[in-house]
Symmetry: D3
Subunit: 191 residues, 6 copies
Amino acid sequence: MTPISRYPVPELADLPSDIREKILAVQEKAGFVPNVFLTLAHRPDEFRAFFAYHDALMEKDGGITKAEREMIVVTTSGANQCQYCVVAHGAILRIRAKNPRIADQVAVNHRKAEITPRQRAMLDFAMKIATESHLVEDADFAALKAQGFADEDIWDIGAIAAFFALSNRMANMIAMRPNDEFYLMGRLPKS
Amino acid sequence: MTPISRYPVPELADLPSDIREKILAVQEKAGFVPNVFLTLAHRPDEFRAFFAYHDALMEKDGGITKAEREMIVVTTSGANQCQYCVVAHGAILRIRAKNPRIADQVAVNHRKAEITPRQRAMLDFAMKIATESHLVEDADFAALKAQGFADEDIWDIGAIAAFFALSNRMANMIAMRPNDEFYLMGRLPKS
Amino acid sequence: MTPISRYPVPELADLPSDIREKILAVQEKAGFVPNVFLTLAHRPDEFRAFFAYHDALMEKDGGITKAEREMIVVTTSGANQCQYCVVAHGAILRIRAKNPRIADQVAVNHRKAEITPRQRAMLDFAMKIATESHLVEDADFAALKAQGFADEDIWDIGAIAAFFALSNRMANMIAMRPNDEFYLMGRLPKS
Amino acid sequence: MTPISRYPVPELADLPSDIREKILAVQEKAGFVPNVFLTLAHRPDEFRAFFAYHDALMEKDGGITKAEREMIVVTTSGANQCQYCVVAHGAILRIRAKNPRIADQVAVNHRKAEITPRQRAMLDFAMKIATESHLVEDADFAALKAQGFADEDIWDIGAIAAFFALSNRMANMIAMRPNDEFYLMGRLPKS
Amino acid sequence: MTPISRYPVPELADLPSDIREKILAVQEKAGFVPNVFLTLAHRPDEFRAFFAYHDALMEKDGGITKAEREMIVVTTSGANQCQYCVVAHGAILRIRAKNPRIADQVAVNHRKAEITPRQRAMLDFAMKIATESHLVEDADFAALKAQGFADEDIWDIGAIAAFFALSNRMANMIAMRPNDEFYLMGRLPKS
Amino acid sequence: MTPISRYPVPELADLPSDIREKILAVQEKAGFVPNVFLTLAHRPDEFRAFFAYHDALMEKDGGITKAEREMIVVTTSGANQCQYCVVAHGAILRIRAKNPRIADQVAVNHRKAEITPRQRAMLDFAMKIATESHLVEDADFAALKAQGFADEDIWDIGAIAAFFALSNRMANMIAMRPNDEFYLMGRLPKS
């Protein structure tokens, strides 16, 4: 079977305790360890910075819901052709949005997804940051404010797209493989 | 709810009998009517030509299996950002390949999918036809023959990519919506 | 001399009778057999579907004249760098439009061609379908309606561009060579 | 009728005598005045430099024939979507190559044109200069030398592509219209 | 004068002490506070993660020198059209490489810079990560190993390109202005 | 050390006297001979046309200042990744604009440079000519006129961008090396 990374994957027992504990906590909650934790643990300092950054952007609500944050991730990761991020964050998006179709839709073409005009504006801006950030102008901020986004919301949108520009490139470089569990998550109705 | 097409969708009862019968046969087999049949029935003559072409390319085996034909469809439809084709043919691919992960993988980046080197060469050529067919040269044929493909196989690969260049554009133009049923098909183990 | 296709070209005598008759009818009318008929006859079922589709889109008038339909073909085939389609349909366009310059103009850059604003809008939409159909939105339909196009006209424009997305890719794949006759057709004043 | 330039076109009588004489000489030889002479005469100093440069590159033979020089012009002008240069130099190419098909072929896709492998290498390099000159490397020179081109031939190829990068942009900016005469030139056999 | 960010810039006195101390330390060393510190301090948690990540990648030697790390930053930031990163890291690169020309060269076109073949391979890979990471394959790793890079060096190269994919997008989004000091740094010989 | 051109560089003594005198005059004024003079002197006729064209466009004032003309050169040469032109004309721009930062800014991203809205419109048009001149339309002229540009100013802007499309390609082809002197010019305050 394809390895989960082009690089060696450390044993849990060999990891610094803070990283091991973070991984065990994720495993406790999700029932398995997403490969991004194991593969990036190859470099503990970078691991710590990566997840600190990730959590600062993704684990909060506010003007943008957690589901919408995942929507940004899946949309821009589709544009960057990052298999790990589309599959793994697609699962989280389905769960957070309680919508089994939305991830497949935005991964292919967010312009055709079942989203609100406000979300459409959000994703248009995220895609501009992801693919041509040098063209961002005041008019882009004005378009988002017309949809009710505050300045801090706009920073969130852009920063998430920027963080996953990093994340997608790391996953593509090391050929990070998505866990099999992700493919089905959030697709079945809760019984 | 979003309509399934920007154009009027005919009632089954109003359709010419050959088209109605084809649609009923599909419904019998699949348990529902995929929206491509209903939306394209808006133009009966084009409908007939479309499905005659489709079936000539997709409903046969030979050097390329039916699962591999669907793999070509999902890969190139991902590149063309066609939501309907990725979702609907993704379902068929999962079923034909008996692999619940393969469609999501090739839709995002076929270079990272769990496929054989022969399938990789097949998809590379399909993508060249889909996105830059003016660059096709003898060397492309040589690369496929080195993987054991016959000339007629190569025609199949290219013709499928070419046919879905048409199909993707029609679906994008009329904003064809994938049936909800497709999203889950082929993802659960047969009980 | 370069062959007219990378694939074997069948003898007329060996073809199914319906295909042979269609080819003889074209020869009767045009004075020669355009290579697209001979080269695609390599696959009779695909041949039948191809020309049924082609004729359903091209052999009618309505909101869009036959000359305008050819204009769409030449413009989008230029973008796809399809030599056969630019040369062969360029000839038909010159004849149908009774204009010896128009084909060369739109093949290079339709924005500089001697066309009406209505035709400009038509070709802009055709080019969007040909090259970035995933971006089509309601605003594109509104722009065409503002020029007087009906919904069915818009389907025609988009479907022709979509059909030649297929056709161009087939011609590029098999290296279809334009007949020498096409180059001069429609360039001389009728005496 | 569309004007031949977005800018005022001077009267022959108002032009400096050296420019007027050059134009009259061209008219004498060709039977008409190509619009590039009239439209660029709007700026006499630039006119003089433009044609001095043009003649230094195009009016000589050597490792590259005059017909081949025109082939470079038509190929790269096609890529730059310059209507004037494709139509006008297409005419000259047909005449110099004594081939009524070659111009239409290279304007669309030089890879499918009836040319020699040596000419193919020449046009590949010209296209690299035209569209991505920042990628030129020693390997490009080696590929041309392998086809028998001398260093000075390579300069000629690249300089012609570079000069028409300028010329195409000027023609596109001022919307230079090709003379009607060009469309038919070189298409009929000499009687 | 243009502000240094589209977002409010906190006063040093209002910042958490760890951030204020980091900033004061930089000021002590550099003689001024680079705007990236002030502008990103708008979000303390993201600031901490950003600089932890940055320092983990940039403040070490090994198979890749500190100067080479900056070379990666300037090259990829040029491709991303990030003014802050090209100007600020251009200064650091000049100082670390003790070469007043290298930054301007790689920012424009690293293929023409005064670098070694090994550095050329390093920058080619960094550019692939920056602009088309979905195409990375085993062959890219082989090319770098042929130049003597170890697996961990390759991670460094790719991770730096990935981190600045994030950094460039943040700077472009908030319109981060480079400090005037950077423009001249490293350009004059040490006296 | 890297040579200044892929082609032989003539000795001053071997050059035609008009070219030698022009070069000596430049040396007298600048204190050194910019490599563009030495490298292009390899072809005297092209040299004469090149500099006649250059001087006709760059050595005049009018609606566009000499500094603004250099701004066009540096901006479009950045887009074309021409190292010689960015470095050499960057120096001239700094001197003519009496601004040590402006060249580095526009070379990377003119949208973020410290320029006026009028200069922004000028550079937007120059970039359109440089990279997609086939899309130029009347609306582009209207936008410039709204900023107060006269028709002749617009010709200047476009012609400068067109001329450097040629110049950048020549420099890229022959690998023209910028003189070391350029890197520091215009960066230090006049004492």
